[in-house]
């Protein structure tokens, strides 16, 4: 019984992916057949040869997501250390959740005037800055789990053995934190890669990301092209899953990241 349930759950988990794959290679899928009537690979050919301009949207999204991920992780690591040592750590950690309480749409609507004033609205840099608000907060929440008594003890040990501040960072802390930094980099990459509302509102229609293109195809009824874009959107996290599922696992509960080590 347990085995059957596990098999059913496994099939259900794969269903969305299978459905999107079928849609992206179907030419005709009429009611009420369960399987596409006719097949095609034209869509994928068009996508790869950039006939529909999707390759540039992918490149733009990738560039933005890599930038946001790198910045959020680079800023989040030292910040999380200061935060972990602060006497009001708990309150600060609670407070940096506030952007999530506001929702990206409400925050973007409220901040658009600042972005317009700074000439950042409608620009890639503006969208990245808006995404960084969420990514930076996430990075600090995730990485604050790294700073624990064991880390302190190792730092103390390194100092006792004669390491200076720089050596402690480069020889002790960074190598120790590398797996967690990789997770953080990937998760903050995904915050930008998956973003739609900030690209829509702060981008003001000028920043054509992959999610913006996906929405356009979806709302115009071009489901097959939308399905292909959806698969492109899912490709980086699925590839990461193949490499190491831990890269995705922290999304469920960032503050639990250190628990499974």
């Amino acid at each position: 019984m347990r085995r059957l349930l596990a098999m059913l759950l496994g099939a259900a988990l794969l269903l969305p992916l299978a459905l999107l794959l079928l849609l992206s290679v179907s030419r005709q899928w009429t009611w009420p057949v369960l399987w596409p009537d006719r097949w095609q690979l034209r869509l994928w050919h068009d996508l790869l040869s950039d006939t529909a301009g999707i390759a540039s949207a992918v490149a733009r999204s990738l560039l933005m997501a890599i930038g946001v991920g790198l910045l959020a992780t680079a800023l989040g690591f030292p910040t999380s250390r200061r935060l972990a040592r602060h006497r009001r750590r708990g309150r600060l950690l609670a407070l940096i959740h506030l952007p999530y309480a506001l929702s990206p749409v409400v925050l973007a609507v409220g901040l658009l005037f600042v972005f317009l004033k700074w000439h950042l609205a409608g620009h890639m840099a503006g969208v990245m800055l808006a995404q960084l608000i969420f990514a930076y907060a996430y990075a600090v929440i995730l990485l604050s789990g790294f700073w624990n008594p064991r880390t302190d003890a190792l730092v103390d040990l390194a100092r006792t053995l004669g390491a200076d501040g720089r050596q402690v960072w480069w020889r002790v802390l960074l190598p120790m934190a590398l797996p967690m930094l990789t997770v953080c980099l990937f998760q903050t990459f995904l915050i930008s890669w998956f973003d739609y509302p900030l690209a829509l509102l702060i981008g003001s229609g000028q920043v054509q990301t992959l999610t913006i293109r996906l929405f356009e195809y979806f709302s115009s009824g071009d489901i097959r092209l939308a399905a292909s874009c959806a698969l492109l959107l899912m490709a980086p996290p699925l590839l990461a899953l193949l490499v190491n599922h831990r890269l995705l696992s922290s999304a469920a509960a960032p503050h639990l990241e250190t628990l499974d080590d």
């Binding site: 609670a94 409400v106 503050h255």
Partner: protein
Amino acid sequence: MNRRPRPDPWLLLLLAMTIGPVVVALGFMLVYSVGGIGLLSSGWTLRYWGEALHDGETWASLGYSFAIGLASLALALGLALGLQAALGPQLRRGPLRSLLFVPLAIPALVAALVSVELFGNAGLLARLARAAGWIDMPNDFPSLLFTASGSGIVLTHVLLVGPFLLLLLDRLARHERVDELAWVARSLGASRWQAWRRVTLPVLLRAGMPTLSVYFIVLVGAFEVPLLVGAPYPQMVSVLVQRKFSQFDLASKPQAYVIGSVYALLAMALLMALFAWCGRRGISGDAR
């Protein structure tokens, strides 16, 4: 001489990048909504607040958002708890161990697209129902999407959040050594159901509370899913704010700001109250 300690630049940056935007956005929305600024501003007024607060759509949207958020979280949590109880260690074995992560690769936009193709009137479920001989035409299939009850939004959210919660519960179960606690309860005479209800469930819910609080607020403020599979009325608050903000009629902008301000204040107060509640009870998590 008594010197005040210098503020930490990293913490200042953190506050400027996370709390700063929240304060600026909320401040701007409040000032705009009382006529302090704006293209149509003719001096300070509470007219927009009066209009928005007397408009049934505002309260319908706010109530609807919180109800949908609660229903989505409750159903997803119920599903995750049921699967965790039924499968237990099986979740960490074989292909299921990796497959559980696949839904984490699905963003909200894609989840909405999958919902349409699964639960729509001509979707896969309707086709299966036709193949089973239960319906003849697409219209015979019960409408699950674009309904005022929000069934499509809740279904999509459950698909999206359920696997996250299942992973969360599995990690918490290992961290809190729930299996060992339940084993102790059973060795003391508790039935399997009693051990789950009196030991496993309270331990998991207590430990997961901070994360569940964040999920709840995120679901209340959801945008993509209600935009794509929600009904035109009532609309969830993020969709309503975006709609009113993007209308050509400039007079609807202050109303968008009023609704945005009310929602922001409510959501922030609720999140802080939930975190404070967790803190008072000594529940560990991101809100300690």
